[in-house]
């Protein structure tokens, strides 16, 4: 029996669940697949509706973790096996090698001398990353990762013999004993290559909304300037295609909750950087639930943003690396063909577990959202359960923490 709690996923809802439970006096393990905590929100430039930086809230969460010996963070870690039952689970966790010292070392100079590059997962392919890297300045834990497959021959010679790097480190497995589990595995951006009518990711200057976040980020590939990836120029004519994959039986059979609000936020980014830019948003419904309507009103009041109810049928390459959109204006019943400097696909969120076979006894619905598990002491939180914004993810994480605490209390 154990009254420890396992939290799978170190994104915002997982962090929240872990910290809230630990501050109630429980031992908590966070198992995070990537090298750092923070998940999707770490990739975002700003949150709607306040347009404040996500690292502000993460900083507080990381402070809380630093101060709390009850929280054990396992990064580059994945649950690979689970046995036992509610109250007494034995969890096998695979730890992938980080190949850097188990403490903070400033590798920035060494990293900058390396030449080998791989596409940056964190920056969604907009730029490269080195073989020795740390994706964000606020990375927690603040440790680099060494990825030998990205090292060139010369790189390998440069890193060889560094006492804080270990090219031979192997993956290993550990076992944890816990009484309850919170699954907060989050979401992934819907794969644009499946959106064949919208260019399948091969049309130049047709980017996804998450890529736009990286372009707008001060630690993104352009240090925050929103430009066309093809030529680095500021776009003048910009279109947003809402529900790119969402609310579509052939793709995601649900609404992704955040894309309307994200696009409104992106309109504000663009209007701030280039007040001259002309923006058109093609939408089915503008979903700004609750007090978010204030953001919608604010954006509607901008002179250079236009909203057209209609779905984009098609995106192809036009001259000058522009993007040609074919759109249906649903109210006027017109078909429009227009060229844009930049088109942003408001791609939706797909649960990370979609198409996966997690070694956890939880039922998934046909879209990959968790649809049960409570009887087994396993509680879904955040976007593993349904598409949510950050606030609701935090609520969801807190609520899941309560259920987990109830499960292990008194054991």
């Amino acid at each position: 029996m154990s009254n420890a709690i396992l939290v799978v996923g170190g994104g915002f809802s997982g962090l929240t669940a872990a910290i809230e439970a630990a501050e109630l006096g429980h031992d908590v393990y966070i198992v995070e697949k990537s090298p750092w905590l923070g998940g999707r929100v770490a990739q975002l430039n700003k949150y709607f509706p306040k347009l404040c930086p996500p690292s502000c809230g993460l900083e507080i969460q990381f402070q809380r973790i630093r101060k709390n010996p009850r929280i054990k963070c396992l990064t580059l870690a994945e649950v690979v096996g689970l046995t036992g039952r509610k109250g007494d689970y034995s969890v096998r966790v695979r730890l992938s090698p980080r190949r850097t010292a188990p403490h903070n070392v400033d590798f920035s100079l060494l990293a900058s001398t390396l030449e080998g590059q791989s596409p940056s997962e964190f920056d969604l392919g907009l730029c490269g990353r080195k073989g020795l890297y740390k994706s964000m300045p606020f990375a927690f834990p603040g440790r680099y990762v060494l990825d030998p497959s990205t090292l060139s021959k010369a790189d390998a010679a440069r890193v060889a013999g560094n006492k804080f790097l270990d090219l031979t480190e192997q993956e290993r497995e550990i076992e944890l004993n816990v009484g309850a589990i919170v699954v907060a595995t989050g979401w992934k951006p819907y794969d644009v290559t499946r959106l064949t009518n919208l260019g399948a990711g091969s049309v130049k200057n047709c980017v996804s909304n998450m890529q736009l976040e990286r372009l707008a980020s001060p630690f993104g590939p352009t240090s925050g300037r929103i430009v066309r990836p093809s030529d680095g120029r500021a776009p003048h004519n910009v279109a947003f295609v809402q529900c790119a994959g969402s609310r579509d039986q052939n793709h995601l059979n649900y609404c992704s909750y955040i894309c309307c609000m994200a696009t409104l936020k992106h309109c504000l980014y663009l209007a701030e950087q280039n007040p001259e830019s002309l923006i058109t948003v093609y939408y089915i419904d503008l979903r700004a639930p609750g007090r978010y309507v204030n953001v919608l009103e604010k954006v509607k009041a901008l002179p250079n943003v236009r909203f057209v109810k209609g779905k984009a049928a098609d995106a192809v390459q036009a001259e000058g690396d522009r993007v040609r959109l074919t759109v249906e204006d649903a109210v006027r019943g017109e078909k429009l063909t227009l060229d844009y400097d930049l088109v942003v696909l408001a791609t939706g969120m797909q649960p990370s577990l979609a198409g996966e076979n997690p070694p956890l006894p939880v039922p998934l619905d046909e879209d990959g959202f968790i649809a049960g598990g409570e009887e087994a002491g396993i509680f879904a939180a955040g976007c593993a359960r349904m598409p949510l914004d950050v606030t609701r993810s935090a609520q969801s994480g807190t609520a899941a923490a309560l259920k987990a605490v109830q499960t292990v209390k008194g054991r």
Partner: protein, 753 residues
């Protein structure tokens, strides 16, 4: 008071730029016995056992770690004694540049860098010397939770709190439990697969609460007052049998909503024609089998109502303004008047609950009448976000349900029927829809917009402060921390916090219960709750010198301080979030924390070696930086090699609200040429984790500037700059701009006096 300190220098992390041995030697020379151990270690992270052994054998009572930022590897350095970090990496070596921007000689540490490092180490020693291990203000936390509101959210909260092992007192205003849910026998989905309507089984939910021995229910009851502090609140509940007094540890506020005043919906026909009802009324009629209409328009577009309010506002603006009421005299005690925050906004904010609700109602009436009813749903935006899209699909897939986007431009009574004029529809034409009933949305007005729900017996008044920021909702200002209110130990959930569907209310109730439980446990251990969770320190008052000026009681963002008739502050440590705003406010400096106090920071300021010769050796600038945003931004700037003027010395503070004017005086009399207050953005979208810190600091700065002016010091020598945590690439320029302005002003006239 740390009296035997071990100082450790991390050669690996700072050795590249500094003569660490020399630094260690000067530390030994200067501090003698106080620094019982001074060591240069090759790698601090591998010296943890050595430090632990030194603490034992040398009886150290403090450890000073000179190396990387305290934000790095915090988990490695947990010792049984006080620990302080001197940030010689990010904010010293990595942030160093020559004043003239010439390349830094890599052979020898530049003198200015050495001076900076020396100052920081000395400041660190003093900081520890003036710091004590706080004893905690633990109280016996009462394991009982007060839930205010016995509707859907409150019932959920009560049951969950009981299931977590806590007693519950549930207060309901009405004569029976259930609230708005009483009229919703079948609701929107409460769980996976989020597809279909679902019986809410309210009776079972009520039974679970009333049948639980650990839950006491008071109906026909309201809060008379809540006094005390988390862990030991006293709640006085007005019941039909007289007042009931009960001890509770924390509170969940789930008082829900009331429908928006009909007058706002009159432009849509509500209250004007008997054939128009709002959604909640319709739901009640439907449950009672009273709906006879067979052609029903469900109008989600609320433009008519919004336009009417806008027009009325314009007319009022044109009318001659009434004579302004005389402003109350300064210091005059103002009686509390609850401001009515109900407005048309509440109708707009209810867009999602109405979209979901009307879909359900339209589907239900069609189902009940075997599709003999025609239900027209007219919307501008169908706001059914997220997973409920599945529900949307299912609900509209019904013979009698017809939907279109439409701008509803008029709703008029035609005697025997209603006419709804629709434009810009998806049917390719404008049309008038004849119906025999119109259902308009229900505006959810949070109870906190109209009433004082909790009745705090607090010095700062009975209500939550700043409710107007959220249009009356008892919501959090923080996206990341949805349960934070400005009244510690009171957590709002459900529609009093935001308009929510029933599934979301249940989840919200659970979250609020967790926070309530956590708060009771924290009070029991004498530690702070969010954001300084686990902090054992708390403000201690030296009442002998208190002049009852009331500033601390007024400025505390959390209303932690009450007072007696004379105005002497009465601390409530369990309400306190440990930001230090009180001691920042105190002109007599009678407030302190064991490990953070006026003398400590003042001593650190005085420990800096300020050169006499401004021209030759440059100015000295003090930066008081908020540790939550500005300080991390500086760290990241350093890591990104964005250096700033080497004439600056940074001291982190818990919040700019804790900055006391005396520190500026200390700096000025020490000879500093400028003081920069570096904190977060304020205004309606403030980012301060303690609500008001940077705003209050800015207000105080004006007074400081005035004082300086009187003393013949240019007020521009003190400035506050706003920085967000992600502005690491801009902050060095901000600093350098300030340093340039100070350099242009010339030396502080007090220098060398």
């Amino acid at each position: 008071m740390a009296g035997k300190i071990g100082v450790y220098f991390d050669l690996q992390n700072i050795g590249g730029g500094l003569d660490v041995e020399a630094l260690a030697a000067q530390t030994r020379d200067k501090w003698g016995d106080l620094t019982a151990v001074v060591k240069v270690v090759p790698l601090l992270a591998e010296a943890v056992d050595e430090i632990r052994a030194d603490i034992e054998t040398q009886s150290l009572d403090g450890v000073l770690l000179c190396g990387a930022s305290p934000r790095v590897d915090g988990d490695l350095y947990r010792f049984s004694v006080q620990v302080e970090h001197v940030n010689l990496r990010e904010q010293c070596v990595l942030a160093y540049r020559n004043p003239d921007n010439s390349p830094v000689d890599s052979e020898e540490a530049p003198e200015l860098l050495t001076l900076m490092a020396r100052d920081y180490v000395n400041m660190g020693v003093v900081k520890l010397q003036k710091s004590e291990v706080p004893d905690s203000a633990a109280i016996k936390g009462v394991p009982r939770i007060l839930v205010i509101g016995g509707g859907w959210t409150g019932l959920t909260a009560a049951a969950e709190a009981a299931a977590t092992g806590y007693e519950v007192v549930l207060v309901e205003k009405a004569e029976k439990l259930g609230g708005a849910a009483c009229n919703i026998p079948t609701g929107s989905p409460l769980g996976p697969l989020w597809t279909d309507k679902q019986p809410v089984n309210l009776a079972a939910k009520i039974e679970k609460v009333t049948g639980d021995k650990s839950i006491t229910v008071h109906c026909n009851a309201r809060m008379e007052k809540l006094e005390g502090q988390p862990g030991e609140f006293t709640a006085v509940i007005a019941t039909s049998g007289g007042p009931v007094t009960v001890q509770v540890g924390a509170v969940v506020l789930a008082t829900g909503w009331t429908p928006l005043d009909e007058k706002y919906l009159a432009p849509m026909g509500l209250g004007v024609s008997p054939m128009v009802v709002h959604a909640a009324q319709f739901g009640k009629m439907l449950a009672a089998g009273q709906v006879t209409a067979r052609r029903i328009a469900f109008v989600l577009d609320t433009t008519l109502a919004e336009e009417a309010v806008r027009k009325a506002a314009e007319e009022t603006a044109e009318a001659p303004a009434e004579a302004a009421k005389p402003a109350p005299e300064e210091g005059e005690a103002k009686p509390f008047v609850k401001e009515d925050l109900e407005s048309i906004k509440h109708l707009q904010y209810s867009n999602a609950v109405n979209s979901v609700g009307m879909l359900r109602l339209a589907n239900t009436i069609c189902e009940k009448t075997d599709d003999a009813t025609q239900a027209f749903i007219l919307y501008k935006d169908m706001t059914v976000p997220g997973i409920l899209e599945r529900f949307y699909k299912k609900m509209q897939n019904r013979l009698g349900v017809m939907m279109t986007k439409a701008d509803v431009t008029e709703i008029r009574d035609h005697g025997d029927r209603m006419v709804v004029a629709c434009k810009n529809t998806l049917l390719g034409m404008d049309f008038d829809l004849d119906v025999d009933m119109v259902v308009v949305p229900t505006g959810l007005v949070p109870t906190t917009a109209k009433d004082v729900t909790v009745n705090f017996a607090y010095r700062q008044g009975p209500d939550f402060p700043d409710l107007d920021l959220f249009d009356g909702f008892a919501d959090s200002n923080y996206i990341c921390f949805p349960y934070e209110t400005r009244r510690t130990g009171v957590y709002a959930a459900g529609c009093v916090r935001q308009p929510l569907t029933m599934d979301a209310c249940e989840e919200d109730a659970r979250g609020a219960v967790l926070k309530a439980v956590q708060c009771i446990e924290a009070a029991g251990h004498g530690v702070a709750v969010h954001p300084r969770s686990g902090d054992r320190s708390y403000p201690v008052f030296n009442f002998v010198r208190c002049t009852q000026c009331k500033r601390c009681t007024e400025e505390c963002p959390f209303g932690a301080l009450d007072d007696d008739e004379k105005g002497t502050p009465k601390p409530n440590p369990a309400r306190c979030r440990r930001c230090g705003t009180c001691f920042g406010a105190c002109p007599e400096r009678v407030i302190s924390f064991a490990n953070y106090n006026i003398d400590q920071i003042g001593s650190m300021i005085r420990e800096v070696q300020v050169p006499k010769d401004f021209k030759k050796e440059g100015p000295r600038i003090l930066i008081l930086a908020c540790e939550n945003d500005a300080y991390p931004a500086l760290d990241m700037a350093g890591m990104r090699r964005k250096a700033w003027s080497p004439y600056c010395r940074v001291i982190p503070v818990r919040c700019l609200g804790s900055v006391n004017a005396i520190w500026v005086s200390d700096a000025m009399s020490k000879g500093f040429d400028g003081v920069m207050l570096l904190g977060c953005k304020y205004g309606d979208d403030y980012q301060c984790h303690f609500v008001k810190g940077s705003e209050i600091c800015n207000r105080r700065k004006e007074n400081i500037a005035e004082t300086l002016n009187r003393l013949g010091v240019q007020p521009e020598r003190v400035d506050q700059l706003e920085v967000a945590i992600d502005e690491y690439d801009k902050v060095p320029d901000l600093i350098d701009g300030f340093v340039a302005r100070i350099t242009a002003l010339g030396p502080n006239p007090f220098k060398g006096m």
